[in-house]
Symmetry: none
Subunit: 203 residues, 4 copies
DNA sequence: TATGAATGAGTCTTCATTCAT
DNA sequence: AATGAATGAAGACTCATTCAT
């Protein structure tokens, strides 16, 4: 078989491809991969069903491209580098900012988050993407902490734990699956916990 | 409409129903819900497709019954109550036991775990089941800790964080998605972390 | 193949067969032949599914036996012979009695009537039964009229037309599919019409 | 949910849709709704099963569209307006023309007629269609009669009875379920009967 | 006689993908 | 480059009937 997938060169064609990615990714995030069919995607994108298969190998391909393009906002929301100012006294402030940032991002895209998390556990490429984002995030925090004089020893492990704690917390706050939990207290506990991880660096 | 679902009364029939649940749940856990069809389930269980629909409303129903029956081994593996001995000096030992127990259980059923976690994020009833198990586990630890004199204040929140930490750790150990991580160190960090949570109780 | 259908001899067995006929016929009349399954029939009759096939060749057989047993009340409701008194002056009264009798019978079993009429047009045996009832009814009226001195000439044809007129009228009255029709006038017209048929006999 | 039914735009596609309606309606009329499956319809129409569901919601939809398209020839066959000339002396001639027209039409489509009549009694939409046709026919005759100076009083009722008489007669002639009936005499009786209905107008 | 468990062919419907224009 | 028509395999579910006990 010849490789039939075309990379659009013309401006209008590029726009079209983008529209398909957006429409497909949005629908999948909203209704799930299995509940979204290509006809819907084409309709939502305002194109014919046939054209979809000139730009994408298959339905799955749309998801993956969509993920690459929009996934950043959904898994481990990126922080604005410039706003991060960190010294020992402002560490707690930073943590609270991160938590708030995550929560407000998750709130916006919580349906997408659930649908994609589902695929993290069932699809290899989505899992890889999630992992990549996690590593990027880890690296990001590592860099910041190192440049602020934190000890490099076991830093990856500490950051990983930190991210896990934050993620768990935020997920709980957004979906509050457990009725009898006080999120204010939980947040404080998590922050204390993280500060304990970096005790040496903060003293 | 008539209620078509029959509860088998004969011994052999009850066995057959169990076989269907087992076959269905196993296949779903192995290949995913969408990649498992009723014909396969029937074949694997050694029955006809028709009988499946006499004992179950639909394919989904098989999953849910399977989950109720076998889910305990997959989400938050249950600990043998009798082996738990806890005083302040043995707290760390307990944590290590839990972690090892979780890891060895997850190792056995890691494919099932991933497939079901996928549904935790996409299916309401599976999500509810997961949540139920989480609450049961939380209650279990709460009870133990209280009966050993731990302070009740914020105990739910602390245990929840503890479980989150353990889960994250074990997941990472099993799947080690991140190459450059030292699990021994991570384990120690997590244990220290948890001990810090209960600092007051352990002094 | 051996003929497996058993004619029940024991009293209890005969009762059972009757129950199946009643349950089956009732359900078919209520929900239609295709929307009634044997499991329902068995359940409604309070017997097992297996036993059904010892008394009946198949589902269809139940319908036919039911029809033989209960059809009289549904197609061309039978008149009480003894109450019929007819002389020339009371002919109109008789017609009105018949019409009222038909209407009150159809009212009771109108759902059954529709379901069975449906089968009159699609099933050979039901059609035959309907036809048989029509002939019986024709004969019944013929006999009465003859014994009251009506002319035998073309009597079958006249009675057939009469029955058609009455049936149409009653059907319309029960279901009144047409909004703008005055049934009182229609009834009078039909009666006049029938009296015209037998003009010679009534003068 | 997206609206999945497509209205074909290309010429060939429109043809195909028509073919499906024709094939489906013909098969249903021949074998009955329940004895016709979509695969057969598709095969008869020379298309794939998939395309059927792009043009029709379901099998039932095919029937209804077929009915709208071809039902006129089956229930209450339409008369050619231009050929109808009516004055008092030609009334009987008109009646005989109608009867002959009905009989020759019914002869052609008698199997269809029976299958559809079956549905008139079991299916709501088919019943509605039948009723609509009956009303249209009533209106048609009303208009003609009025324009020829017939009295408007009770005209709907009279025409309804007339149509019933004709229908009954023609049905009997086609299917002659009763062996010992003289159709020539019956026809004459029916015509006399109808003329009696409009006695005032014809004098 | 009786039960109810078991069968499996049959049906409608969906949808990713390809094709003709 | 684009359309939308067409494909057909696959899947969930039903139910009349038979079988084992």
């Amino acid at each position: 078989m010849i490789e039939n997938i075309r990379e659009p060169k013309q401006k209008r064609a590029i726009e079209k491809k983008k529209k398909i990615i957006k429409a497909g990714f949005d629908l999948i995030c909203k209704n799930g991969y299995h509940n979204t069919n290509t006809a819907e995607i084409a309709k939502e994108a305002g194109v014919s069903t046939g054209i979809v298969y000139q730009y994408f190998k298959d339905k799955y391909d749309i998801l993956i491209e969509g993920l690459e393009k929009y996934g950043e906002n959904i898994f481990f929301p990126v922080l604005d580098n410039k706003n991060i100012k960190l010294d020992k006294s402002s560490f707690e402030k930073l943590l609270r900012d991160i938590i708030n940032h995550y929560i407000s991002n998750y709130k916006i895209s919580n349906i997408a988050y659930e649908e994609l998390m589902s695929m993290v556990y069932s699809d290899k490429k989505v899992a890889e993407y999630y992992c990549k984002r996690e590593i990027e995030t880890t690296e990001f925090f590592k860099t910041i902490l190192i440049s602020n004089g934190f000890d490099k020893e076991n830093l990856v492990e500490k950051v990983h734990i930190m991210i896990g704690l934050i993620n768990n917390l935020c997920y709980e706050v957004i979906y509050h699956k457990h009725k009898n939990m006080n999120y204010c207290i939980m947040t404080n506990l998590v922050i204390t916990n993280i500060k304990n991880l970096f005790k040496k660096d903060l003293d």
